[in-house]
Point group: C2
Chain length 309, copies 2
């Protein structure tokens, strides 16, 4: 089915001014911007772990496979450029499924101005898995690493957390533009995207930077979905906001004066014209410990929470 | 198991002068050579299609997953630079299997001077699959495409063909150095690597270039494995050489005078000091047809052979 699929796919792929050679040869060739470096990341999603197929729409699965990789480029404040896509498809209905997956990816690729530069299509007796590798390029502000947070830095997050599993975990909206805008206009020390849960990913940033953190529980922006999920699970909405995964929001460590400006200026508006709220949820400390401050001001030393692959 | 695996892996990975940021952040960062472009390719292998696990050594599976991607960079005459590796592992024994796969990849990466820049490790209830994305860079001679063969060009191949399934299909030796050497020192018009069978891949080169070909059956270098396999299958060794896949030799279209020089000079020696024979097996023609000339000089119009994914 590969040749039939490629025949269907090629006219649907956009050209790109930096794509010198697209699908059809042994490899694709991309030209970077002047003085840019290659930023590369890869992430796979599979049936049973990241989605259930059949049971959810393959276009949304395709969207997610691409979006989570763009989210990793956002976490680096890299400009997205291209992706290559590898499909591992159940034999029965493979062609139609491949088409639906791409119909979920193509609009997202267009919106983010990237090209689908190549890929690989495979069928087998197993279940569905999709592996995407995303290529970005550095900007003149260079990359945003996760290991440069300093004691005294404020922790800032985009959006709200928790309960993504209820309905939005497939509809990831990568924070590429937001990260690029913030990195260009403000002094950011460190950052990552939150995929495995706020507490766990924040702790990763701290560990990489050899700092600790005090997290103000009352300041964590709770997603409506976390409130709703809490009514079903018996856990609190705060627990969901801290422990659930797949929010794909940015977690940033910035100097406190930058944080004050960010919170007051609220400069982010997403592609759809909707404001993306920035919230300060904590501060970095010199001791490598994870503290949570509750509503009464009581500090509790926390073990990291979240999801282990 | 991901964090345990990464703890095991990191000290085993080599640094690389062009790897600015390796595994551990949301993405890796690579610096290209001056005026180089990014060459990117991806290829997945899966249990049941490309290997049988258990049943063959996971180090050889890891080697193959990496080698076939390097072979695609060879096909572009690109300098290999880095790979990212995505593992999809059966849950039981995942850690040990991941380690063995990497122990197959690391020596090959070292031999070819590339870095393993990042990756993704996943477990699931399904079977084993490995997806690799390889990044190369263009040289001052630029890339070798498959669509630039011209009528009158000679078809040159490296090595010998057929019967790889007998024992060597996992032990792929990518022709990176050979392709780079030939592209630097000779005028090559077009090329690709032979993964799906000599006839099928040669026909792909012809179709991409809008040419046809006359293939001289008696000149096709037959691998010993093809002879041996023919004794078991009842097919001829020539049929195996033409139709079997996974030889991962180069198929090149070059001007006839270059071909004459190549055949006489035989400039290729592989990493182990063993000569890699170049053989002329045919010529491109203007009409888009695939002809085979047998030992008696009789020409037969051929449908393309080979393996459909």
């Amino acid at each position: 089915m590969e040749s039939e699929f490629l025949h269907w796919l090629r006219p649907r792929l956009s050209s790109h001014p930096q794509l010198r050679l697209g699908p059809g040869d042994d490899a694709a060739v991309l030209r970077l911007a002047d003085r840019a470096d290659v930023v590369i990341t890869t992430d796979l999603i599979s049936d049973g772990t990241d989605f259930h197929y059949p049971g959810c729409c393959p276009r949304r699965i395709g969207h997610k496979a691409l979006a989570i990789n763009l989210s990793d480029l956002a976490a680096m404040a890299a400009t997205p450029l291209a992706v290559v896509v590898t499909l591992l498809l159940p034999r029965i209905g493979a062609l139609g499924l491949a088409q639906e997956l791409y119909l979920g990816m193509i609009p997202l690729a267009k919106r983010f101005g990237i090209c689908i530069a190549g890929g690989d299509v495979n069928t087998w007796d197993g279940a569905l898995a999709i592996s995407v590798t995303a290529i970005g390029q550095t900007t003149s502000r260079d990359i945003l690493r996760r290991d440069q947070a300093r004691p005294g830095d404020a922790i800032i997050v985009t959006g709200a957390f928790g309960g993504s599993i209820l309905k939005r975990h497939l509809d990831v909206e990568p924070r590429c533009r937001e990260a690029l805008y913030l990195n260009e206009h403000y002094q950011l020390h460190a950052g990552l995207d939150c995929s495995d849960g706020l507490a766990k990913d924040l702790w990763r940033l701290c560990q990489a930077s050899s700092v600790g953190v005090i997290l103000h529980q009352q300041q964590i922006p709770i997603h409506d979905d976390a409130q709703q999920l809490a009514q079903q699970t018996g856990k609190t909405a705060h627990e969901h906001a801290l422990g659930d995964g797949e929010d794909f929001e940015l977690i940033l460590a910035v100097p406190q004066d930058t944080a004050t400006r960010l919170i007051s200026e609220q400069p982010l508006i997403n592609q759809l014209g909707v404001p993306v709220k920035l919230t300060q949820i904590g501060e970095c400390i010199a001791t490598p410990e994870f503290w949570i401050e509750d509503e009464s001001g009581k500090l509790t030393l926390q073990p990291p929470l979240g999801y282990e692959h």
